[in-house]
């Protein structure tokens, strides 16, 4: 105890000595400054501890902010959510060349649509129906685009309306062109179809009997690729 008291006395003496070093006429200013500085510090500390939430909660809390980020409502859903209702489309999507593509790649954001219960206005919001523009964003040749995605040159392709022939969910062209015409008394096939377009299209179609000498130069009757690989859809409309 005496030791502590001696120490306190020593401190007092030193403080007094410091105070004496300050000129009498400056003491008031120094005291005011000291009180001011102490007051500001106390006010800040007090505000941070006890003050209104604006200040008290300022002390940074990452967890709370991360929670606000987490609570953001997603705009996009995911494939699993779509598959719960749209089984048929999902089944086709997973079996063909478009397998692995999410529904919202083409249909746009469906988060609200998927979460809504059937019958509510949100569920009635139709998913965007993809246009040919969506097809073109992947299937036209562009410098840098890898070759594993089939690329077409629209003017050389058969018709510009993609979905007229292709099932978007599988990507497969499941029926031949709707334009039917006779094969007699026509200019060479290539005149209209173009070499490339004809070739590309022809791979999926039976070679029919024709009198066209241009065709016959390469394709003897019955010599073309037969529709054996992917089932019979091409056969449906019969020969042309």
């Amino acid at each position: 105890m005496t030791r502590a008291r001696a120490r306190a006395r020593l401190l007092r003496m030193r403080a007094r000595r410091v105070w004496k070093r300050i000129r009498p006429r400056s003491r008031r200013s120094v005291a005011v400054l000291a009180v001011l500085a102490g007051g500001i510090a106390l006010a800040l500390l007090g505000a941070a501890r006890l003050g209104p939430p604006i200040i008290a909660e300022y002390a940074f809390r990452p967890e709370a902010n991360a929670a606000t980020w987490r609570s953001q409502v997603p705009t996009y859903g995911d494939v699993a959510m779509c598959a719960r209702c749209h089984e048929a489309q999902y089944a086709r999507l997973t079996t063909a060349t478009h397998a692995g593509i999410g529904c919202e790649s083409c249909h746009g954001p469906l988060g609200q649509h998927a979460l809504a219960s059937p019958g509510t206005p949100e569920a009635e919001v139709a998913a965007a129906v993809p246009t040919d523009q969506v097809c073109a964003s992947c299937h036209v040749p562009v410098t840098g685009r890898p070759a594993f995605v089939r690329q077409i040159v629209p003017p050389k392709h058969y018709v510009a309306a993609c979905l007229a022939c292709h099932d978007p969910h599988t990507g497969i062209s499941n029926r031949p062109p709707v334009v039917e015409h006779t094969l007699d008394n026509l200019p060479p096939c290539i005149t209209c179809h173009g070499a490339e377009g004809f070739k590309a299209r022809n791979q999926r179609h039976p070679v029919v009997d024709s009198d066209d000498p241009t065709c016959l130069a390469c394709h003897l009757p019955g010599r073309g690729p037969l529709p054996t690989e992917s089932g019979p859809p091409d056969q449906r409309t019969g020969s042309r």
Partner: protein, 473 residues
């Protein structure tokens, strides 16, 4: 209570502000101000009116730029820091340079730098106020900075330290100005000394704000801090050169000593500063051309031969380095007017230099987004609002200083103390004693199980003395 009867005839209560009696009654104050404006010479009236006009335009620009008015700035995600950052940097380093230059008189006691004492302090406070005003307008949420910097400090950020140093610097400058006019020489001495220390720390940290960024190779490197301090010194000296030319020319108070001592002294400092900054600039450019990083080469090229080249060669090198050096070296231009032109050149050079520094650091885009890479250089041109704010900040400094020159006694003070380190040594001594006492109370003493009460020294030589137990020496 007495203010109710206050009138022009009876000034009523007054307060002492920076060594002048200022009436507290607003009507008296207004009347005195009106009378004083009437008595001003015509040229002074025009000068003040022009400055007021510029400040008014800046005030309107500032109102436009208040949140959420940030779109009026010409900045973009590629060039996030624009003219306001440049303006802030310029005013902030000029402040530091003023203290660095005048510390030769105020801190180190070199007689011929003494005339700078009061004038530099006024200018420094004004420049730093301008700098803070500009940065507050540049920040999108300035008030959050006050809360955030204090309540969630971020010591890893150079910008946070810059705030600490410049904030402390402003406090020291205010104490310096107050003590200067209220005759507190010892407080003044301490404030000057600490402010001079801060004048090195603060611009160095400002340089580090840029220097730590690996993403911007043109800024990155330890020498950015050195370059910033050197630029600060040159800018401060140049501003003092302009002001002291005015003091001598207009025969303001203390002009005899200013003309005889300060002008040659400033000329010397200006020459040294120009050479140092020139060498650092040359180093930066050579290092940039020699560098392997594509970003730094592109940035350096943009300065030397790209879109920034005209400003670099004409303003920075020609007007900002070569001309001042020539005027200082040639014997027949060693006149106050020569110093004025050299100072204007050097100051312009530093301002353009900081502009080029900030602009070139961002001109080589880090991202190819939005076709920026196709542009080659990231485009940025300051908007009228940014220009008005920076020009207005300069007008504020000039306006404030003109008023100070008119109303305050800016002669150097008679009394000068050397740096008195006695209080500091006391602190050191006491800290050491306390530490030793603390150690003593924890260390077991050989052969003595309990702390001794008699104060006898312990056996071992390195053990602490027992002065804490006994009476102080």
């Amino acid at each position: 209570m007495t203010t109710a009867e206050g009138s022009i005839a009876r000034p009523g209560r007054t307060a002492t502000l920076l060594g002048r009696e200022v009436p507290l009654d607003p009507r008296v104050l207004l009347a005195a101000a009106v009378a004083d404006v009437r008595s001003m010479p015509r040229s002074l009236k025009v000068w003040l009116a022009v400055l007021l006009l510029l400040m008014g335009i800046a005030a309107i620009a500032a109102l436009i730029a208040l949140p959420p008015g940030w779109e009026v700035f010409g900045t973009s995600p590629s060039v996030e820091w624009g003219l306001l950052i440049v303006g802030y940097v310029c005013f902030a380093i000029t402040t530091s340079g003023l203290c660095l230059a005048s510390s030769l008189g105020t801190v180190f006691g070199v007689d011929r730098f003494r005339p700078l004492e009061k004038r530099h302090a006024i200018l420094a406070v004004l420049c730093l106020t301008s700098a803070f005003g500009i940065i507050a307008l540049d920040l999108h949420w300035p008030v959050r900075l006050l809360f955030g910097a204090i309540l969630s400090p971020s010591p890893s950020s150079p910008m946070w330290w810059m705030g600490v140093f410049y904030g402390g610097y402003l406090c020291l400058l205010l104490v310096e100005v107050w003590s200067m006019f209220s005759d507190h020489p010892r407080v003044h001495q301490w404030a000057c000394t600490l402010a001079a220390c801060m004048a090195v720390l603060a611009p160095a940290t400002l340089g580090a704000v840029f220097g730590v960024l690996t993403a911007r190779p043109f800024w990155h490197g330890p020498l950015s801090a050195v370059w910033m301090v050197a630029s600060a010194f040159l800018a401060g000296v140049a501003l003092l050169g302009i002001v002291f030319y005015g003091v001598v020319r207009l025969r303001r108070s203390g002009f005899e000593r200013a003309g005889r001592l300060a002008i040659p002294a400033l000329r010397l400092l200006l020459g040294l500063g120009t050479i140092v900054v020139g060498v650092l600039l040359a180093r930066h450019m050579l290092a940039g051309l020699d560098g392997d990083e594509p970003g730094v080469r592109a940035a350096t090229r943009s300065v030397l031969e790209g879109p920034l080249a005209p400003q670099f060669w004409a303003l920075r090198v020609g007007f900002g380095l070569a001309l001042p050096l020539l005027l200082i070296l040639l014997p027949w231009t060693r006149t106050p007017a020569g110093l004025l032109v050299a100072s204007v050149g050097a100051l312009t050079g530093v301002l353009v230099d900081r502009w080029l520094f900030v602009a070139a650091g961002q001109i080589a885009p880090v991202t190819a987004s939005a076709g920026v890479v196709s542009e080659g250089y990231a485009p940025y041109s300051p908007s009228p609002v940014e220009i008005a704010i920076v020009v207005g900040a300069g007008a504020f400094v000039a306006f404030g200083y003109t008023l100070a020159e008119r109303y305050l006694d800016l002669r150097e003070s008679d009394v000068h103390f050397g740096v008195n380190l006695a209080p500091l040594s006391d602190v050191v001594r006491w800290t050491g004693m306390a530490a030793r006492a603390e150690l003593a109370s924890h260390l077991p003493r050989p052969g003595r199980p309990a702390p001794a009460a008699d104060g006898a020294p312990p056996a071992a030589g390195h053990a602490p003395p027992a002065s804490e137990d006994g009476s102080p020496p």
